[in-house]
């Protein structure tokens, strides 16, 4: 599949993960999120931005605990838990938020 934005085509895999992660931009994130029925609130952006920062450093999305701890630091204890992250990204913070962040899908027994 592919995303169309401002006359440009962004190639994605069968499940909608961007093929070229460097092609990502914020408008594209909003478009992918729309496809997923997710509204990009400020909190959702915090998660997406953290994922991108972490990926840049480690070439992988953060583990759930790493993510919840980081969000706890940024948004407080009431939001730094997996329950809240699932409210933001009902299909799972790792997979769905990665898609919106333009990162590859985490694989394995998860």
């Amino acid at each position: 599949m592919a995303y169309e934005l401002n006359g440009k085509t962004f190639e994605a895999d069968e499940e909608g993960y961007l093929v070229d992660i460097s092609a990502w931009n914020e408008d594209l994130a909003v478009l992918i999120a729309e496809d997923e029925n997710i509204e990009m609130s400020d909190d959702a952006w915090e998660v997406v931005n953290f994922l991108r920062e972490y990926y840049e450093e480690y070439q992988i999305a953060p583990a759930v605990r790493v993510l919840t701890k980081a969000i706890k630091k940024k948004l407080g204890a009431d939001k730094g838990n997996s329950k809240y992250l699932y409210e933001l990204f009902p299909y799972g913070p790792a997979k769905q938020a990665c898609k919106i962040a333009g990162l590859p899908k985490p694989t394995g027994c998860i």
């Binding site: 480690y58 583990a63 759930v64 605990r65 701890k69 997996s82 394995g108 998860i110």
Partner: protein, 515 residues
């Protein structure tokens, strides 16, 4: 993901009315050329795929007398027909194990038996056409290789081996499955299914050390690449990444700490799983297993212990010595390999762990036997140890434990629905439907005995249940790791306070049926 109806929970395990072709359109994503080529398979379906497939099939039959017996041996008695969770959950007649096997058997007859070569119609032999190949691709990815049907087969025909052979043939003609093959490529390149590189692993483990210290006041280490440690822990990479897996990993660390042993993880062999078993590739399985041997040698450990991973334990217990042995450089005083459950129960029996069972009083537990542990391995010195050892641990760390119905546990256990390389979103429909027998058995103990949580010792089971239980009205946090319960109950020397942590406290008031 397409919408689909889930069969209603069926308390009597009634055989569903057949729905012919119900699942014929469900197939997993095909591996991309680079995923295939990383494993030495053709990038895409080769032109002469039919000839190549028959050649490969012939080679497998030659190598494995067992496969030939499985092809010849079926007497169509029907004992297996209603034993498969995917059949019970989908009502598709081809998901009866005998019918799924026959997809390969009819080709075997056509090309490898006298009667089938000359009188194909008389013996149900068929030509290998594109339709047959597509049918293979679809239905051999609707088998989790759990071998429940084999338990009930009077001849012991092993359906898993047949599914593995079919997948092996398909890989060799260039029609592999994306999920398994992409993952195997990551293991070869990075060391684990996730593709978690060493710096990320170290960062993640340091974070866990902080969490444990914050919770207990005790400095519990999760060492990695520590040369000269006594024990190498090989665990599924999901233990580093996902919930509730990570709570189990914390449990192992606390147990090792309290036992006072030196242990280490390896970033080179940071994966217990061996998906090569799922695709039936001996060469790939050997390559993955050899990483563990190399890590053990490089780190000069004396023992290898496996964490909570179902098929990894089957590969380790049943095949590792052949694949990557002999392990004569390890200390012969300990089993090679050893399961973390054996290690923990031994300490419990010696009275070396200080346990407060009441820490788990907010839960009533039941135990899900994972198929590869239950039917593909053993554990400890006595037969049935793979059933008794984990349960003995649950009983030692919890006050409330109830088993599910007898025909759904031990060697008759129902698969979680996500094993055998099916734990991928593109197969969600079969995963949800195939979970229905286990969900039925769970619901029964929920209603009759107030069970609130189910325990498992397999990363696939844990991920599968947390994803599919909500479809059956059960909260995703109702599946727990066995060593998570140990972690809750254990009181470390010098531990501050013994109150359960916030997260476990918050779910005490919820009912199990709230998703």
């Amino acid at each position: 993901m397409a919408d689909f109806d889930t069969l209603k929970i069926n308390p009597l395990f009634e055989i569903p009315a057949l729905e012919k072709g119900a699942m014929k359109d469900l197939s997993p994503f095909v591996a991309a050329p680079n995923h295939q080529e990383d494993l030495g398979f053709p990038g895409e379906l080769v032109d002469d795929w039919q000839t190549k497939a028959i050649e490969k099939f012939g080679e497998l039959l030659k190598k494995s007398r067992a496969l030939r017996v499985y092809m010849d041996g079926c007497v169509k008695c029907g004992a297996c027909t209603d034993k498969c969770h995917y059949f019970l959950g989908t009502a598709d007649p081809i998901n009866m194990p005998v019918a799924r096997q026959d997809l390969l058997r009819k080709i075997y007859r056509r090309y490898f038996t006298f009667a089938g070569k000359y009188f194909p119609k008389l013996v149900g032999a068929e030509d290998l056409t594109r339709e047959v190949l597509d049918e293979w691709y679809s239905y051999y990815h609707q088998c989790s290789q759990c071998r429940r049907c084999s338990v009930f087969c009077p001849y012991g025909l092993d359906t898993a081996e047949i599914s593995m052979a079919a997948r092996e043939i398909m890989d060799h003609v260039g029609k592999g499955q994306k999920y398994c093959n992409e993952i195997l490529g990551k293991v070869h390149k990075i060391g684990n299914n996730l593709g978690l590189p060493e710096p990320a692993l170290i960062d993640t483990l340091e974070g866990l050390e902080e969490d444990i210290e914050e919770e207990t006041g005790v400095e519990v280490k999760l060492p990695v690449n520590q040369k000269g440690a006594d024990i190498l822990l090989v665990t599924p990479s999901a233990d580093f990444f996902a919930e509730p897996h990570v709570d189990g990993l914390i449990g192992y660390a606390k147990v090792f700490h309290q036992a006072g042993v030196s242990w280490t993880l390896s970033s080179y062999a940071s994966e217990a799983a061996n998906f090569a078993m799922f695709i039936g590739s001996y060469e790939q399985m050997k390559k993955v297993a050899e990483r563990i041997r190399k890590a053990a040698e490089d780190l000069a450990v004396k023992r290898i212990i496996f964490g909570e991973c179902g098929h990894a334990w089957r590969v380790a217990y049943s095949f590792m010595n052949t694949l990557a042995g002999p392990f004569d450089f390890l200390d012969p005083a300990y089993p090679v390999p050893q399961h973390i459950c054996e290690f923990t129960l031994d300490l419990i029996e010696k009275g070396e762990l200080n346990l407060d069972k009441s820490a788990n009083d907010h839960m009533t537990l039941t135990f899900h036997d994972s198929c590869n542990v239950a039917r593909g391995s053993r554990m400890g010195p006595t037969p049935g140890g793979q059933f008794e050892i984990p349960r003995a641990i649950v009983r030692a760390v919890c006050n409330n434990f109830v088993d599910m119905a007898a025909d759904t546990i031990h060697e008759s256990t129902f698969c979680c629905g996500g094993g055998g390389g099916l734990l991928t979103d593109d197969l969600m429909e079969i995963r949800v439907k195939g979970a229905s027998p286990r969900m039925t058995a769970l619901q029964e103990v929920v209603e009759e005995h107030g069970v609130t949580h189910m325990v498992a010792i397999c990363a696939i089971c844990k991920s599968q249940f947390s994803k599919v239980m909500p479809k059956y009205g059960i909260g995703m946090d109702r599946i727990v790791s066995l060593h998570q319960l140990v972690s809750n109950a254990i009181i470390l020397d010098g531990q501050i306070g013994t109150e359960p942590d916030e997260e476990t406290e918050t779910d005490t008031s919820e009912d199990v049926a709230t998703a």
